[in-house]
Symmetry: C2
Subunit: 497 residues, 2 copies
Amino acid sequence: MVQKKSEVLMDLSLRRSIFFPSAEIYGDSFSGFWDYGAYGTAIKNRIIESWRKDLVEKEGFVEIDGCQILPEKVFVASGHLNNFNDPLVQCNKCHSLHRADSLLGKEFELTEGTPIERFDELIKENKVVCPKCKGILGKTKKFNLMMGTDIGGTGKLKGYLRPETCQNIFLDFDRIYKTMRKNLPLGIAQTGKCFRNEIAPRNSILRIREITQMEIEVFFNPNKINETENFEEIENFKLRVLLEGKKSTEEIKAKDLVSKKIVSGKLIAYYLSRLQLFYENLGIPRDKLRFREVGKEERAFYAKEGWDFEVETSLGWIELVANNYRTDYDLKNHSKVSSKNLKVKEETEFIPHVWEISAGVDRTLYVLLELALREETKKEEKRLFLSLSPKIAPFVAGVFPLVKKEGLGEKAKEIFNELLAHKLPVFFDVKGSIGKRYARIDEIGIPFALTVDFDSVKDETITIRERDSTEQKRIPIKNLAELLWKLSVGKTTFKEL
Amino acid sequence: MVQKKSEVLMDLSLRRSIFFPSAEIYGDSFSGFWDYGAYGTAIKNRIIESWRKDLVEKEGFVEIDGCQILPEKVFVASGHLNNFNDPLVQCNKCHSLHRADSLLGKEFELTEGTPIERFDELIKENKVVCPKCKGILGKTKKFNLMMGTDIGGTGKLKGYLRPETCQNIFLDFDRIYKTMRKNLPLGIAQTGKCFRNEIAPRNSILRIREITQMEIEVFFNPNKINETENFEEIENFKLRVLLEGKKSTEEIKAKDLVSKKIVSGKLIAYYLSRLQLFYENLGIPRDKLRFREVGKEERAFYAKEGWDFEVETSLGWIELVANNYRTDYDLKNHSKVSSKNLKVKEETEFIPHVWEISAGVDRTLYVLLELALREETKKEEKRLFLSLSPKIAPFVAGVFPLVKKEGLGEKAKEIFNELLAHKLPVFFDVKGSIGKRYARIDEIGIPFALTVDFDSVKDETITIRERDSTEQKRIPIKNLAELLWKLSVGKTTFKEL
């Protein structure tokens, strides 16, 4: 039987500690929490660095780093205290907990707006029972997904772990806008953890309770939604979209999304294009990605227009990024509850509208790994490797002395330190045969191996081996940092060496 | 009246949004939570990158990224559920909360080990009243500083936000040790948030409830504490230490700390030296730093030997890094409570000992900014600037077109994108006169300005201006990335250009 890609990845991940259950020595009572080992942490950091460079810095956006615990009033204003619920149902017999919408399945078209009583009707009509013990299910309740905690010693100050990273951005907008001397459109970005008390966490790092997001909120003047400065750069870029009610993905040019009024304006087509380009750049093939139009019933309570950026995996289409037109919903409500004026004055006075680009780092990592997974058999030898782009591989290269002795260890360490000083993510290994070292870095997706041998100390050259082709070439040590940098950003290829 | 440095920094920080109170539009009921704006975030990230390069990657250590919420059992084993308390006292009249040890002051030599009844005795004997309203104080209570939350829908699963980043490292040690094929000594590092429910947060980002740490736990064989591989590299390095009971700091060579048995072995002297070197490298002058020996009474409940790395500021000596010899305390207790064997087998079978290097990122940032603060008057013009090292400045350089028109904007953007592609942290600004732009980057500590003027488009040269001297030089655009990289790592200086 052929193993599913998701299972091969899980095996690999546990064997090499890419990601694994948190606090696993205490068993699995505490599901939905995952830790990242050395390679997972490195990949995660490199995804975030790529995002920072391509989607934040290049666009002239501002990155902040705000607190994860926020006062209750924030979530009164944001609507999360009232609306951020899942329908929870408990088995009367075995007391296990389930999400009522998951039990009922997709055929009933249940959405965030479905009234709670409707779940009980459907459960009754369709004779749905507990999937664990066939017991009768109790009444459906609204279960708020935020995790609360007490602040200070009085027991009277309630805080919540933010369920999305964007709230700090709304809270800090006024100050950042004023002190950074920026005009609209102004993008404010943030990466960090957020927390959702999922009823049924599942699929390893795909549905978890402690999530890393990378988020951008673009504040803009709604009257200028069609005055996007660099629109011509992407106007002919083809976006892959699945329109509401359609069965298949189409390719539509950015400018046509606008002229056909499929999106609310140029600004939206612009950022959707930038996002697709970013993910294509990280190595996701075009035919595996799409923007799915999110219909009115299914949209989050704050969204006027929504596009889920999804990627196809062995587990189906996975949502990596929620793109939402949040209008002035957030600033208006924070202004109301806090009694602070959050308007800006540019020609007229108004509350800015918000375009949100909210990406999940964990899911991005999962999808990139699964799509990069390769199994091949050459000369009867089986090889498993991750064909990750040099942009997000845990390291760009492994530096290997053939042996530790006769100065090879020192020479290799010297090269390693020089590459590190150039901010190149490199990896040093001296343990085991060179063949085994190659096999190990193949498995964790390091694209190049640099081997220091006896000739290296004589003629100042080393061997560079490419992961995917397993081909080797001899190159000079001089200018290695520059060469490796070019390989890592795609300015040159192994073939061209 | 001369303003205190801490006040000048606070003014600057609020004016330029370096750091500021979290959720400030909702007022100040929720103290001890601070957000970082664009410059603060950039400096924080650059401090972490320096730490990763110098103390983690160069040492061959492994970095992980674990969950912030951990199950209750973890803190039963770690001892935090029982021992991580502060003495809390409430005023009977105005109901304000205070730390009993802070009210009593330093003269009583109160420590973590002081019994709770002793506080009531001392408060009575010394007639201590509420500092706010002079009311009578109630009985002292133990107040646990961990923040708890419920996980899942049952209300029966209790989790806690980790009060220190090290617990994931202990929980994951066994898996990392086995899957990464490393031998002891093995360092495992982690950076991220931890949470402490301080009774009285104060001094802006120095005593806060949501803290960013960068932490290393070095696992080693206690019988080999004097077999440290690269000890000779630092054996003559002079550490600045304040020994217990002494009034002044001494300089003692690493090898003498060992031979005089001031530390438990070479391994400890080695990592203390590396740490001091790291902070000197970030720009802290030698005479402002020290390792303070932490006496038995004052040490955390898990520590056999402790050295607080402290820096002198306008607010006194601030602890930046706790260095603790945690012995086998943590692994032994986790092994006991989880029933998992956490021994390693290298020659014999044993539980590794742990040397901890636990650094606060927020405090490091604060101290670096305060020490970098300069006010000078030249030709009757007052200038405020942050003399930050290029290693941790929010950006290495600002790229400024003299004007936006006549191709200067495009030329500058081209240079900016090329530098970004080389992973150089650069900053683009086109707004306001060039003098104002210089003044702004001086204030946030950007060491260099690169100005693109009308000659630049003709002869491919630009002006580079140094922040501290305000001197300017003309340099070619060719090889700018390499030059800026050399300036940023200290391989060349402005004077040498």
